[in-house]
Amino acid sequence: MSFRNAPLAVEHDVDKSELFKPEIREAIDAHIAKYPPEWKQSAVMPALSIVQDANGGWLTTELMDDVAAYLDMPAVSVYEVATFYGMYDLEPQGRHKVCVCNSISCMLNGSEELIEHVEHKYGVKVGETTADGRFTLKEVECLGACRDAPAVLLDKVYHEKLTPEALDKLIDGLE
């Protein structure tokens, strides 16, 4: 969404040195440095990823508020980003995330079978976590790996041309 007077900066009444651990701040700062000072909001996506990884794979409203404060941006703008993209999770997740691409190419090449297979074998629906907390099954939008569909993003690694058996093997390898 383009705002005429973008980006709207909001100063939050918090001490930024109290937000996050030093190493997290450092990691976010590295991203902020990539943009002009008045555009530091551009670092919102990497910042959310860093904060999410440090929080066991999901974001709380408080964490999103902290990111907003850290980047001098309105909280609702952070919520917009975090709710839009599939890689941000707003509920507690399993130890791993099995993200099956279900956009057109993968779908034509059998991603729906992959999902059905996982659902049956491990007793989870899309969006749910296995009872042992081992992984969360997610259905995601195009992973950009159409050439070797169907693709699955397992945590941060791409796996392509998957069959149910190959996916099983991957899942079996998870802690």
Binding site: M1, V76, T83, F84
Partner: protein, 799 residues
């Protein structure tokens, strides 16, 4: 802009500026293109796709239909808004928009005035091809003013853009994606901005509607009547929607020079006060302590007798500054006809030492529409967003355009733009202004010279001076309501004048109410005669009228315990007077306690009249509805009273005649803030030794009797009676957050709770005025003592 170019829309040649969007040109030419997300005052989103049109440039057709709202015009552009290709695209968009839109028009408040409904009539199909389930979205509670039905939302994002761009707060947002996208605050919280109600007008569907108006009327039952807003000094142009003699709701009318296309929530929702239970519906006379309803003739004859018999030097007229120009003028004529010059409308002012020097026709200093073009704006003693919501928006526009907004205030304002604020206790404000003057190398004369000479500008003051000088004449110094209520207002005016002169910029006054400027023209001022002519023998101003005890008082359109600078003194002046006649649209305990005769007059929307706004623009309006019961328009009451008092020239047939008579008197009057004389000012009354000073800011929704009676506005936060202190100040006094304290202003006392607030200056105690609980207190701005009654636990019990 460079030279104009010609483009062709539907075969018609139209003149356009390069870079303009097709839809803007078409709108100007009266060619209608359907749209939902486009709004001329907001940025372009181009997300609804309803305005798709067919176009070609230089003989080369665009490969597909283009959105008219986001396609800039260029030489040789040809556009077809109704070609088969354009219509096909528009129909397709419509079909998609209707997929998820509920078919609940019969129970939707927007039904009958819905842009989606209208466009669907033109472009929609009769039968939906969509047989799957429709989307359902949970509602959020956006507070007492805005009702939500988010399932109806078509994601045009006008409300989101309004909040971000005009209001300057990002409270609303579009969360989720695709099918799951929804507009809301994500974590439900009330939208509290004072302009938020405009999203109701912006919403093209029934997703955001007015909560107070909800389910009370249908648009086709309503008749529109033009009017002018009766609260702040802007005079927003309104459209009142009337059904069966009742104002059902209020919408803005466009006027670029005044309110653009917006109105404040105060102007939008205050109408509900008209329909309240405590309207005064018949003349009342108090006999032996009992109130009796009487006929108009009896009441007015009695009032005329008493006024005739009264000593005119011992009489005072207190006029509400939002009375119409005609009422103020007729009242001024009657008062002076009786030989009484004691008439005033500056109800919330206490320092009148500069009356002889004050300008006769004070105004904003710049036309309203010029404010956004200022390069520096110095606000002195103004809670601008509370006092003048839409002028605050104009100032914000200036700030976004790079202007320096500077404030000298006893409390830090939450402004939605860049600003530099000097937080200054009331007792220190004069010296801060003197320091800014000194930094500008101004000298001043008399006391001013001493004040300026004695001050020691800090880096802050120097920075202010620098910013004002750099404005290059494109700047304005504005005095607000907190300055007006200050015991040293005369010094403020003098110093502001010195600052403006030294920096080569303008001086302006933020009018306290809808007709404060007009009251000067009408002569409702002890030192000014109708037509803004100086009076030879000035009468008594408000402060003197309250102090003197006068034997006869006339109160017009006000409540003595809420609308005057000092409620306790006002009530006691009324008590000591032998005869008090109050003309009011509303009944109230304080009027019953203080008056001997109550005359019911028509409130806003119930009388014709004129308001003169901050720019000095005369804006007349007609009555939209009849006053309730026996109540009559104020000017008619005054006309009869004038005749009963045997004063000549009270044979007016209508307000137009009154207005024309006054306009003739005002032929020479021009808005001008230059003092009439060199001001013989004396030293400041508030000094460092004065101790803690009350800052009695009037909350936005407590300004006048009408707005205080609007139930929905009363539920908005910000009007709680409490005392707010800076944490350091509280620590010095040995007080803690949540303590129950007694407030002492001389004889006047009240009990309330203490809250810590770092935005209040040390030395100031923010205690709102004109709210329930504040009646028992003294001057809005003046010394106050705090006494601890009990700690936090007591607070807990009281909830």
């Amino acid at each position: 802009m460079t030279d104009k170019i010609n483009i062709e829309i539907d075969g018609r040649v139209c003149e356009a500026a390069p870079g303009e969007m097709i839809i803007a040109v078409a709108d100007r030419e009266g060619i209608s293109i359907p749209r939902f997300c486009y709004h001329k005052k907001l940025s372009i989103a181009a997300n609804c796709r309803m305005c798709l049109v067919e176009a070609e440039q230089g003989g080369r057709p665009f490969p597909k239909p283009v959105p008219a709202c986001a396609t800039p015009v260029g030489e040789g552009l040809k556009v077809w808004t109704r070609s088969p290709k354009a219509i096909e695209a528009q129909r397709a968009t419509m079909e998609f928009l209707l997929i998820n839109h509920p078919l609940d028009c019969p129970i939707c408040d927007q039904g009958g005035e819905c842009e989606l409904q209208d466009v669907a009539m033109g472009y929609g199909g009769d039968v939906s091809r969509f047989s799957e389930r429709k989307r359902v979205v949970l509602d959020e509670d956006l507070g007492p003013l805005i009702a939500t039905d988010m399932t109806r939302c078509i994601h045009c994002t006008r409300c989101v853009r309004f909040c971000a761009e005009i209001a300057g707060v990002r409270e609303l947002g579009a969360t989720g994606r695709g099918e799951d996208m929804r507009i809301g605050t994500y974590i439900a919280h009330a939208v509290t901005h004072e302009l938020a109600g405009n999203v109701i007008d912006l919403c093209p569907v029934g997703a955001l509607t007015s909560k107070p108006y909800r389910f009370t009327a249908r648009p086709w039952e309503l008749t529109g009547r033009d009017s002018i807003a009766p609260h702040d000094g802007l005079g927003s142009n309104l459209r009142l929607h009337v059904r069966r003699g009742q104002v059902m709701r209020v919408h803005p009318n466009d006027n670029e020079a005044v309110n653009e296309t917006w109105i404040s929530d105060r102007d939008r929702f205050s109408y509900a006060g008209l329909n309240g239970a405590d309207r005064l519906k018949a003349p009342m006379v108090k006999r032996d302590g009992e109130w009796h309803q009487v006929e108009w003739t009896e009441a007015l004859t009695y009032v005329a007798e008493r006024l005739k018999a009264a000593d005119s030097a011992d009489m005072g007229w207190l006029m509400a500054p939002n009375a119409t120009l005609e009422e103020l003028y007729l009242a001024a004529r009657i008062a002076r006809g009786l030989g009484c010059d004691n008439i005033d409308h500056r109800l919330r002012q206490q320092d009148f030492r500069a009356d002889a020097a004050d300008p006769l026709f004070p105004w904003l200093g710049r036309p309203v529409a010029e404010l956004p073009r200022q390069k520096a704006i110095l606000l002195i003693g103004s809670h601008i967003r509370q006092e003048q919501p839409l002028l605050a928006h104009r100032i914000r526009q200036a700030a976004l355009d790079g202007a320096e907004v500077l404030c000298v205030n006893p409390l830090e304002l939450e402004l939605n733009h860049r600003s530099t604020q000097i937080l200054s206790a009331p007792a220190r404000m004069v010296s801060d202004l003197a320091a800014i003057a000194k930094a500008l190398e101004a000298r001043g004369s008399g006391v001013m010279a001493d004040l300026i000479g004695a001050s020691e500008p800090t880096a802050e003051h120097e920075a202010f001076a620098q910013a004002l000088k750099q404005a290059d004449g494109q700047g304005v110094v504005l005095l607000g309501a907190l300055a007006e209520a200050h015991p040293d207002y005369s010094l403020f005016k003098a110093l502001a004048g010195v600052i403006a002169e030294a920096a080569g910029i303008h001086l302006g006054y933020l009018p306290a109410a809808a007709n404060s400027v007009g009251a000067h023209l009408a002569g409702a001022h002890p030192a000014i005669l109708p037509g803004a002519h100086p009076a030879e023998t000035p009468g008594l101003a408000v402060a003197a009228m309250l102090d003197k005890p006068l034997s006869t008082l006339v109160l017009w359109g006000l409540e003595p315990d809420r609308d005057l600078i000092d409620s306790t003194r006002a009530m006691s002046a009324c008590e000591q007077a032998k005869f008090v006649v109050a003309s009011s649209a509303f009944d109230s305990p304080s009027l019953r306690a203080s008056a001997d005769v109550l005359l019911p007059i028509g409130a806003f929307a119930e009388t014709s009249g004129t308001f003169v706004n901050a720019s000095g623009t005369w804006q007349s309006f007609q009555g939209a509805v009849a006053p309730p019961g026996e109540a009559r328009p104020g000017w008619k009451v005054l006309r009869v009273l004038g005749n009963l008092l045997d004063l000549s020239g009270f044979e007016y047939r209508d307000t137009a005649e009154v207005r024309e008579e006054l306009a003739a008197l005002c032929a020479e009057a021009a808005p001008d803030n230059t003092p009439r004389a060199t001001q013989a000012v004396v030293g400041p009354t508030l000094t460092a030794e004065s101790g803690l000073t009350r800052v009695g800011a009037v909350p936005c929704y407590s300004l006048d009797p009408l707005v205080r009676r609007a139930p929905a506005l009363a539920r908005m936060p910000g009007a709680e009676f409490a005392v707010r202190l800076h944490p350091d100040q509280a620590a010095e006094l040995g007080l803690a957050d949540g303590d129950c304290v007694r407030l002492i202003q001389g004889e006047a006392q009240a009990e309330t709770h203490l809250f810590l607030d770092a935005r209040v200056a040390v030395g100031a105690a923010l205690i709102p005025a004109a709210v329930p609980g504040s009646e028992g207190l003294g001057a809005m701005m003046g010394p106050v003592g705090l006494e601890r009654l009990s700690g936090r636990s007591a607070h807990g019990e009281r909830g």
